[in-house]
Symmetry: C2
Subunit: 168 residues, 2 copies
DNA sequence: TATTGTTATACTCTATAACTATA
DNA sequence: TATAGTTATAGAGTATAACAATA
């Protein structure tokens, strides 16, 4: 079954010709692949990749300003508002207007949200690690390193995703 | 200006923590960066990245079936229909129903479409090459190679994008 | 019956601008 | 005046299913 998908991919390559050299095209195809696996593996959690990233970052930065969060994740403020309100409705996130700047909104995980993320994180770790195929372990490490550099993140991350759910 | 953007990116990194190790997140951020540059550099052509890829593949495969094209580019058939009809309206693409299977649609560039793609291709080549920063030339080559492999394309492409507009 | 493409609908994400309430 | 967030609206892209014509 999976072999069939891969065979199709190779059969179609002649059609694509030079396009398979284009960084933008390669990134788009890779993302389709990863996001597809995301829903297969983590679909049970009823979360989209973007929603997952928002919850994780709130969990690691209790009280973070909504605008700063939107900026860091490149989510538009208008969209972030809807997403956060949705999380609030689902009882996962609390919104607090701070005394010293009553225009702002500070975000925290609720107790339920915290349990949810704690349950989610190890699953996400497993999922992310499983994305290696068909690269070797070393190739996948290199791919991640180059993408980090391309995105202007430091080449050594400040923490690994594995700290999230792995250690206690 | 650009330096300021990069500074912001680095300032926000602590917020993201382990997320910068996630392949899916890295791919999404990289794609946002590349697509952003695409519109800055090639916005004059009034084409979106997906539209560009469709036109190029039709140009390299005159008479290609619409369904095969949709499959290779992972564009949903319903969306492909709208896109191709739009190209037809703009006079860039012709649709032909072949005698031997009258359910199908074969796609070709019109003369105008051919001129359009011929003008576009060198610009796209320049754009794609300019995406290197801040990677070294070797690092960008490695990144492309690993993404090709991850996507199950052959590691050496059958043709380079540069054949498109470079040679005459 | 299965396949190719089309139509219709809905939902997500994005883009934009106008708006509020604060600062 | 500027900023943080909100609301409203429109558009692109995706997902899905039902459909017509053809095989």
């Amino acid at each position: 079954m999976m072999a069939q998908v891969e065979q199709e991919q190779r059969d179609q390559e002649p059609l694509l010709a030079g396009l398979t050299d284009s960084l933008g095209f390669l990134l788009r195809m890779a993302q389709l692949r990863v996001f597809g696996s995301f829903f297969e593996t983590l679909g049970q959690f009823n979360l989209k990749p973007g929603e997952f990233s928002v919850l994780v970052v709130i969990g690691q930065n209790a009280g973070v300003r909504q605008g700063l969060l939107a900026n860091a994740l490149r989510i538009k403020p208008a969209h972030m508002t809807k997403m956060v309100r949705n999380f609030e409705t689902r009882g996962l996130v609390t919104r607090t207007v701070p005394e010293d700047d009553r225009r702002a909104v500070e975000l925290c995980l609720s107790d339920e949200g915290d349990r949810y993320v704690t349950e989610l994180a190890p699953n996400f770790y497993e999922f992310d690690r499983a994305q290696q195929d068909p690269l070797t372990k070393e190739e996948m490490e290199t791919l991640r390193r180059l993408l980090r550099k391309f995105n202007r993140y430091s080449e050594r991350p400040s923490a690994t995703l594995y700290d999230l759910g792995g250690g206690k």
